[in-house]
Symmetry: C2
Subunit: 483 residues, 2 copies
């Protein structure tokens, strides 16, 4: 079948249209816009794009693809950073986009829960939840275009993981179309349901390799009515770790963000947003952007003031400003966000997303930056991330005026150098972005044989013909490995 | 092999001793004390009890059992309530006790993590963690004898789920001996590690049916230095639900417990602990035992006083007392704990552990109690539980002076009646206790075909000879169900 596909590319698309009807199948030139990634680094193709309107449609699509021997690549908002939703075998792969399944099935403030279809845009869902007086805490840069099914499939992280956990911890139930087209109906909103093996956990983070998530039941929280944001200047990144430990205790688990940034963050942010005013007079070797939030009877601003006062007095921090308005808080966050835009403006660069034990974060950043600087003296390191999660984005910027081939060589070299240091810390090559196709080699190279065998056995048990998102996460052999 | 086993019961024990050495194998009369459950309702037997001292020992035990065709039943503290750690096929099952693997491998306050072997007693581990200035929040009645591996295998719940989640949410990593004796080495303490499918999730709640958990990496929290406890009297259980919603918002997610109890709780508690002084003058239709806790700069007692003052003024609650000492707080909790002892004193009774959507908890209790009272007018209902989790322990006490057969008939009838009401609420027959062997019939009867097929496929993939805790959770067929 796959050989035939390659020789007659139009034919499987026609067969899908015959099986599913023209409304569900996009072919020809329309396919292209689903086939390049967010950064525009990769452009591929697909046999067709399927656009189901319902869970039943998804089942029909999966069955039709199986009958034609086509692999299904599920796609949400296509904002992932690891090429998990983009075909790597365009002649035998179909993209199944969830973009038409955007319905919010329920928002129940009394039950602290909601049920939403996989294609709903995260920020639109959050707005609807807020209108109901509640809060869905998942927050990430792509929230204006990512879709909730993709967030669950990739177990997305983001800014608020510290307080509310990864997406996994926000999920109460799932509806999943399995590789044989049957529907796993697990959309319960029960907070506690301890009936043995929790099957839904398998699909969270599987990036569509075990089935297609079509709807999600999630936890909602009380809307945080008060938010206090502070930018803090420190003598060293080590102090950020000490400060975090102190803040966890003093602020009583009410922190919703605790991000570290280097001094270069301000330069980069102002390259992207030139009229951004510097929030502090002095310059410091390390910065923390800290947020405390809550609802009800606790005075959050007062808490932030007392905390910052105490750590200034104890000389644990050197300087600090607390935003005195929502607008000021937004501007402090603009440095964090603008820093990314600034990096993009400097040209192609290495983006990493690694994690280490949180007590060793500062040591890791020091060691890894030193190793990169030694190996690539003309490159610039930018390390920032989430202190409480031990999550570092150590990015490396080659000089922008080099030929592309030399830039790419430096990016590859920098990644190798960083991963070598990371391995000595027993860190993870993917803290929050997933594996997809981009990180597959780094993942596979570090995968213990026992885990590989287990993954193969489970993949084969759930998807015996290896039809779901083939090429993503691992090169499955279809061999259960059991003798 | 299994036929031979039945005919020559002593022989497999001798074969195990030959393979593993006498130190690891208990046989004969010593076996009995591992073979009855916590309530003394069931006493069974086993071919032998294996008592490994290390992960390598566990591997050797599993391999020896596999070679002899024996099924392995892992056992922690044997405090489970659903017969998950007790053989039901004594002639072909071996108990593997983790009681000798009690080492705490590390407690790292700077990393907010610890690594502990499966056999460590929960309360002893918690004490050691507290000595290090930290806090492990899992809290349940059996904590003086349950073992941490059992807590993870059953995904234990308890009093603090509201604030800190089930055991699943406290686990960072696992070490597991798989059915083929190989070791899944996943003892990472990384807070964020998003490398695809999260295999450890499979073993949490699997009750030893997929492997034997030998060590666990867990999250630690700052020690809550302040705890405020209040007993609150209400006009109706519905008001407890409204109060919960208000408390979530006003107390800013700092609640660590929110338990409801009926007026009968005080009678039952005083039947067990006669000198327990009544904490309030009046009697009310419903009670809530509420706890707020935290560390650092927030005045928790003041928060409780302001909250209780506001809800009294708004007439959402009728009466309330705040414990003004640790001793008073302990006495308030004694009503919650003594209630269980009081029920035990009244003789055999039905204990349930169900959950419903939390917005419907009061409706469910009303409907289910009415149905039980109609079907069994001489029985007494006692409903209590965790409001924030939608978790109800609706127990039914037959008259104590009936013949045992009539008591058993009423218990069976009451369970059937409650489950019928529960099904209309789409509730769970096991909110926190697991499935084991006791709840297997109720679980299987409600298991959708798609889930059953998936469970069979995964069990067969991980444990193809169905050797791990056979008879627990589901009667696996060994058929992957894939055609």
């Amino acid at each position: 079948m796959s050989i035939e596909t390659k020789e007659v590319p139009g034919q499987p698309a026609l067969a899908l249209e015959a099986a599913l009807g023209a409304d569900l199948v996009l072919g020809g030139a329309d396919v292209a816009r689903y086939c390049s990634d967010w950064h525009g680094d990769v452009a591929t193709g697909a046999v067709a794009v399927l656009r189901p309107r319902s869970t039943e449609d998804v089942s029909a699509c999966v069955r039709a693809c199986a009958a034609l021997g086509l692999s299904v690549v599920p796609q949400g908002g296509n904002t992932g950073l690891v090429l998990g939703a983009i075909p790597d075998r365009p002649a035998s792969q179909v993209i199944l986009s969830l973009e038409r399944m955007t319905r919010i099935r329920s928002i129940d403030a009394d039950d602290f829960s909601a049920v939403v279809e996989a294609g709903a845009i995260l920020s639109e869902f959050k707005d609807r939840v807020e209108e109901a007086g509640m809060f869905f805490p998942l927050a990430l840069g792509a929230q204006g275009s990512c879709r909730i099914g993709g967030n669950v499939s990739t177990n997305a992280g983001g800014i608020n993981v510290l307080r509310y956990g990864m997406t996994r911890e926000l999920v109460l139930g799932l509806e999943v179309v399995l590789p044989d087209g049957s529907v796993f109906e697990g959309l319960s909103t029960l907070r506690k349901d301890n009936r043995g093996i929790d099957l839904k956990q398998l699909f969270i983070g599987a990036e569509g390799t075990l089935g297609i998530i079509t709807a999600v039941a999630v936890k909602l929280m009380p809307q945080p009515e008060q938010v206090a944001t502070a930018l803090i200047g420190l003598n060293a990144l080590d102090d950020a770790i000490t400060l975090y430990r102190r803040a966890r205790r003093d602020c009583c688990d009410l922190m919703s963000a605790f991000e570290f940034m280097p001094p270069l963050a301000f330069t980069l942010a102002r390259e992207a947003i030139p009229d951004l005013a510097m929030p502090m007079d002095g310059g410091y070797p390390a910065y923390v952007l800290m947020e405390i939030s809550g609802s009800g009877l606790i005075d959050i601003e007062d808490l932030m003031q007392r905390f910052l006062g105490a750590v200034l007095e104890d000389e644990l921090v050197v300087d600090g400003v607390i935003a005195n308005s929502r607008d000021q808080a937004r501007k402090l966050w603009l440095f964090r966000e603008g820093m990314n835009e600034g990096q993009a403006k400097r040209g192609p660069h290495l983006r990493t997303d690694v994690s280490v034990p949180l007590s060793r974060l500062a040591d890791f950043v020091r060691d890894a930056e030193a190793a990169v600087t030694e190996a690539l003296p003309d490159c610039t390191c930018v390390s920032y991330g989430h202190v409480g999660d031990g999550n570092v984005h150590l990015n490396v910027l080659p000089p922008g005026d080099l030929p592309r081939a030399e830039i790419d060589a430096r990016i590859y070299k920098a990644k190798t150098v960083i991963n070598t240091v990371l391995d000595t810390y027993r860190g993870s090559v993917s803290a929050e972005h997933g594996i997809g196709r981009l990180k597959k080699p780094d993942f596979e190279a570090r995968l213990p044989a026992v885990q590989r065998k287990l993954l193969n056995a489970i993949k084969t048990a759930v998807d015996p013909t290896l039809v779901m998102n083939a090429g993503c996460q691992l090169n499955y052999t279809g061999d259960s490995g059991q003798s």
